[in-house]
Symmetry: C2
Subunit: 465 residues, 2 copies
């Protein structure tokens, strides 16, 4: 039986463990190898993206794996962005005018544990931890690993090899270094880094601030955000330039300077973070990068997925969701072409690459939107109008955010194209005073939709020359 | 005297030799190291971009070095694209409506020799050939080289180090591998490769076809081009997919197949290439890639320039021109900040990076234009209209091609933005039938300029949110 091929999956993070689960459910023999210890047994590192935003594309992947309901128990719904102004005023900017459209704060290790438990329940999935990948033979579908417990070298071989080993992927590195084919590759770093800080639970339990929102303190070049955790705490992330700025990681070198900066920019947040200075110096400063590459597969035997193939910056909250969607798209290709891995891999990339490129670009755009535009009047007027459209005409209008986040059946690339055209239409109509107060909302919607079509048409003439 | 710093330049190609010449003229002590033999003394490899298009930005660089007049003696003016249709018909599409705007076919080794001779005439420039760079110490401004004649390892150290060692730059590789800073990097390969073939001079001397044009045989996915040489020959370049096409490098594996392909697609060219099959199998197949990276400088001591910093595909004929312009921009920064190399390097990148990114993107776009659009009716109608504008209103209209190629005082990024808006305006006005026959040319120009402004305005509203 064809289904019994042996599959080696390198990397048991979110993408790798869902992939193992799904392929295991399909009857393949899986070995899932992870360089870190089993996170169900050891304490995790502090300061490394403890929670994430889970939305409809990710949920679709979890549903496919039969673990959606279990995952939902780990979720805290966030209905919008809670914007914190300098003067302490706050404003909830909802993600959608439709009440069933919201995102979820979820614990990364919690979700990962759930997936590993589900894998372990299948007898045809073997989990191996503490094994770091040193080298991959792409053509042989084999890898050489160091067993961190014994220090010994271990070779694992399969019929098919998947690299789901994250942004620093060893499998991708083997592809980069190969001279057998032309490997297109990009790594683009933002000039900002990030650092995580904690808002602990309130004394006696509960949350110290609203837990139904993703909090944002937009300050132009800098930004603080916070997502709630089930235990009543929030994980706060500071995004700040590394250098060449009045306040930057390079010059926030003393406790006084850090407190001065936070008091000045985020006075209402400072009160919620009793361990600010300690955590600032204890937690690592992380870089923010986008990785794109092609081809994702080699020799019809080896495929990279998730962050290994397309790491994105975190500003659209789509990194994990995109990785789970990868598994959904791959699963569709297996449905169509099962037995022919070269075809599955090439069709998968043909279908998927344009969409992961799109979400990568959207995520970079959204950094500007979050740190800067959320505080702009024109942007706020656009959001207000879009929310009205979504409330009054829920079947006729979806904002870019909604297309990307809540419409899992619309590919990212389509959502980007349409969403950008809509944004351009509304911003220009507003800036040029073409949406006047005496118009009805329906009239405004019609003008926006017409202008969006014109923009898409004009772009298509150039594109389809 | 500050001027007497010792400068090590790795790579004595077109960019490195112009850079050495200019810095030598400024009084610096230069060591210019090249891995290849002195091309003034040995025969060159066949089949590797023997001629190039030299235009106004490149000429400006050569003028700065005092070698423009000498270089012009190596040039053959090309006034436009000679389009060869399948049926043998030809059509000259001029590059500009202004008669003083044309590009030049020039021999790469000829121009390189001229620059090396000019360097050698300066006593403060030392030339070293046959030394391959193995490793660079970015912070120390030193490099380790292998002397190919003796096999010995040689270390060269300076105060300042420049990497002008081309698309495969060893200096850039040192930056990529360094973990001291975040290095953004991309290499993007086209799915097409290229191969050079020769049209020899006519018997008894002279050219076998018109020598005042860049010949193009546009065939949708494939393309043949030809540039004239001073000896009466043409260097022909075939651009063809590597694989997955009816005809591609992977399946053109026999003489019969090659001849069949050329006879079918380029019947009028076949007659001019008596050594077609031999050359096809003797000459290498080259890849076509774009390289972008940042930062270009490290430790205020080491800077990469030219292809090492920004390799582009050849379709805008701007690779060499951009590299020469690099030297012009650097020279302006030295004028402003001489003595402060860290400042010179950071201001140079701040000024220059957006422009080399722009020409890289324009060059990729132009591949589609050359192989495909030159054969499209809408595109031809656009070019015809633009030429009329340039002839009748030479001070009021410059096409994108003209902005990029003939306006050396307009940065590439500005030329791209304006040029793309103009293209979009004209293509849409033509497609929508808004430029009618009974309009005067001046009326058409006014509508195009107005529509261009509207496009730039609408984009700016989104951009400047």
């Amino acid at each position: 039986m064809k289904n019994k091929e042996h599959i080696l999956i390198i990397g048991a993070g979110l993408c790798g463990s869902l992939l193992a689960l799904r392929l295991g459910q399909r009857g393949y023999n899986i070995t899932l190898v992870e360089k870190r210890p089993d996170l169900r047994k050891v304490e995790q590192d502090a300061g490394r993206s403890i929670n994430l935003a889970l939305s409809d594309r990710g949920l679709k992947g979890l549903r496919m794996g039969g673990v959606e309901d279990a995952a939902k128990k780990l979720c805290i719904p966030m209905e919008g962005r809670m914007i914190h102004h300098e003067d302490g005023r706050t404003f909830l900017s909802r993600y959608s005018g439709r009440t069933d459209e919201y995102i979820n704060s979820v614990s990364r290790p919690g979700l990962n544990m759930l997936l590993l438990d589900a894998c372990e329940a299948l007898s045809n999935i073997k989990l191996i931890f503490d094994h770091g990948c040193e080298d991959v033979d792409l053509q042989d579908a084999s890898g050489t690993f160091t067993d961190y417990n014994t220090g010994q070298e271990v070779k694992l071989k399969a019929d098919i090899l998947f690299g789901t080993d994250g942004a620093g992927s060893a499998v991708r590195k083997s592809m980069f270094l190969s001279r057998e084919f032309l490997f297109s590759f990009s790594q683009n770093w933002l000039t900002h880094g990030y650092k995580e800080i904690t808002i602990p639970p309130a004394e006696g339990g509960g949350f110290r601030t609203a837990n139904n929102a993703l909090h944002i303190w937009p300050r132009g070049e800098d930004m603080l955000i916070a997502l709630p955790n089930l235990d009543g705490s929030f994980t706060v992330t500071l995004f700040l330039p590394f250098r060449d700025s009045d306040y930057c990681f390079d010059n926030l070198t003393s406790e006084e300077k850090v407190i001065e900066y936070f008091r000045k920019e985020y006075p209402d947040a400072v009160e919620l973070m009793p361990n600010l200075a300690n955590e600032f110096f204890e937690n690592p400063t992380g870089p923010l990068g986008t990785i794109k590459c092609s081809p994702w597969s080699t020799y019809g035997k080896t495929l990279i997925m998730g962050d290994a193939a397309h790491a994105v910056v975190p500003f659209y909250g789509q990194g994990m969701n995109a990785s789970f969607e990868d598994v959904v798209v791959l699963d569709e290709m297996i449905d169509k072409y099962e037995g022919d891995w070269p075809k599955i891999f090439s069709e998968y990339e043909k279908e998927r690459k344009k969409d992961t490129d799109a979400i990568a670009d959207l995520a970079v755009d959204n950094f500007d939107e979050m740190k800067e535009h959320t505080a702009s009047e024109l942007f706020q007027a656009k959001r207000k109008l879009e929310l009205s459209f979504e409330i009054e005409f829920p079947n006729e209008y979806n904002s870019k955010y909604s297309l990307v986040t809540f419409n899992e059946n619309i590919p990212y690339s389509v959502a980007m194209k349409r969403g950008r055209a809509q944004d351009k239409a509304i911003l220009n109509l507003l800036a040029d005073g073409k949406l006047t107060d005496h118009m009805s909302l329906k009239e405004k919607l019609d003008i926006v939709l017409k202008e969006t079509q014109d923009i898409l048409h004009d772009d298509a003439v150039v594109k389809n020359l």
